[in-house]
Symmetry: C2
Subunit: 213 residues, 2 copies
């Protein structure tokens, strides 16, 4: 918790949100998560729970209530699990209480093509199905890896204009953040290139300077 | 934690494993999870973490290390995320240290057909692709809903014989546990029909009696 807070404090001038992954949510208690989210909110940062939620309705509902109670502003979900008895209540509840839902569209790692890259009988890639679901289910944003700027370009045309594109994978996974932005990404997600840096403040400043120049 | 331990204690004579879902893992601390797993292990119960893991390698690796450290015997993963840079290290590490990996094949809720039921260009259903991945990636078991006994039958023929079928969805979701067993399921997973019962011990005893008669 202290490490996470320190990192938020060091980088808060150069970022607009923090994304807290499953592997950090597991070890932290609910009160520690609240403390981290309060700390981020006080610095005007949005806080996103990246749990790639993909369970049945009842589990999703209880899990997201914990997340909202601890002050997260949004959650990342996997639309592969389906709407009916899957993510329906998550979208409904988030809309009711003003929280955000970001849905996966094409992840950044090499093996993402084994799922999002599959071609369906109707001619669509699953990635395109994911975009269509984001539109019809009412996602606030989608996840599209910086490693796939061509897909970001396609997605930007196909997505409703108000749906934002969040793009991870430009650090350790060697995606191209600038290409992603040029293709239509709205936000760049940086993880290990900041977290593992000896000087996170300089790392995030350099990254944002390079993208804005 | 105390509620969960009490439930384990009440039902341990009639079950062979406990499955701890994401929405219980979030609120419990690591030491509480250890305590719960120790409690189950002392009663000769296997303990499975149901997190439907579907993230990139680095997140998956750290998340599962926490799970193994707290004494879980197995984890449930979603093969949709892919192997390369996805689940590869999870399978590798689990094999090295003698832990189990159970992969999703067809979930129990209505919307599962929006994912597992999609037809691919090569003629396979995604459900069949999931079975093929369980075989080639080396899953110890697969999840197939009791709500779909026809799919269990197909899976049993297509799966390597040593891969077990775990079947949820026969309580609140109204799947037919007996039909699932007859179709080839090895284990029935009961959740809310036990958890929400006023007399969990009687509920689990009745359920097992009904299935064994």
């Amino acid at each position: 918790l202290q490490d996470a807070k320190k990192l938020v404090d060091l980088t808060s001038d150069h970022i607009c949100a923090i994304k807290v992954n499953f592997h950090l949510i597991i070890p932290l208690s609910l009160s520690e998560l609240s403390e981290l989210n309060d700390f981020a909110n006080e610095r005007n940062l949005v806080s996103i729970a990246d749990i790639k939620l993909n369970d049945i309705e009842n589990t999703n509902r209880i899990a997201t209530e914990y997340l909202w109670d601890t002050g997260f502003s949004g959650v990342i979900v996997n639309p592969f699990v389906g709407f009916e008895g899957g993510l329906d209540l998550v979208y409904q509840r988030a809309r009711e209480i003003g929280k955000g839902v970001i849905s996966l569209a094409y992840m950044s790692h090499p093996g993402a093509n084994e799922g999002y890259g599959l071609k369906l009988m109707d001619g669509r890639l699953i990635f395109e199905l994911m975009i269509d679901r984001a539109n019809s289910w009412g996602s606030d944003g989608v996840i599209l890896g910086t490693t796939r700027p061509d897909k970001i370009q396609i997605a930007r045309k196909r997505l409703k204009p108000e749906i934002k594109i969040f793009s991870p994978g430009s650090g350790v996974q060697a995606g191209n953040a600038r290409a992603a932005l040029e293709a239509g990404a709205d936000y760049i997600i940086l993880g290990r290139s900041i977290l593992s840096s000896r000087d996170p403040k300089a790392a995030v400043r350099e990254a944002s300077r390079a993208l804005l120049s």
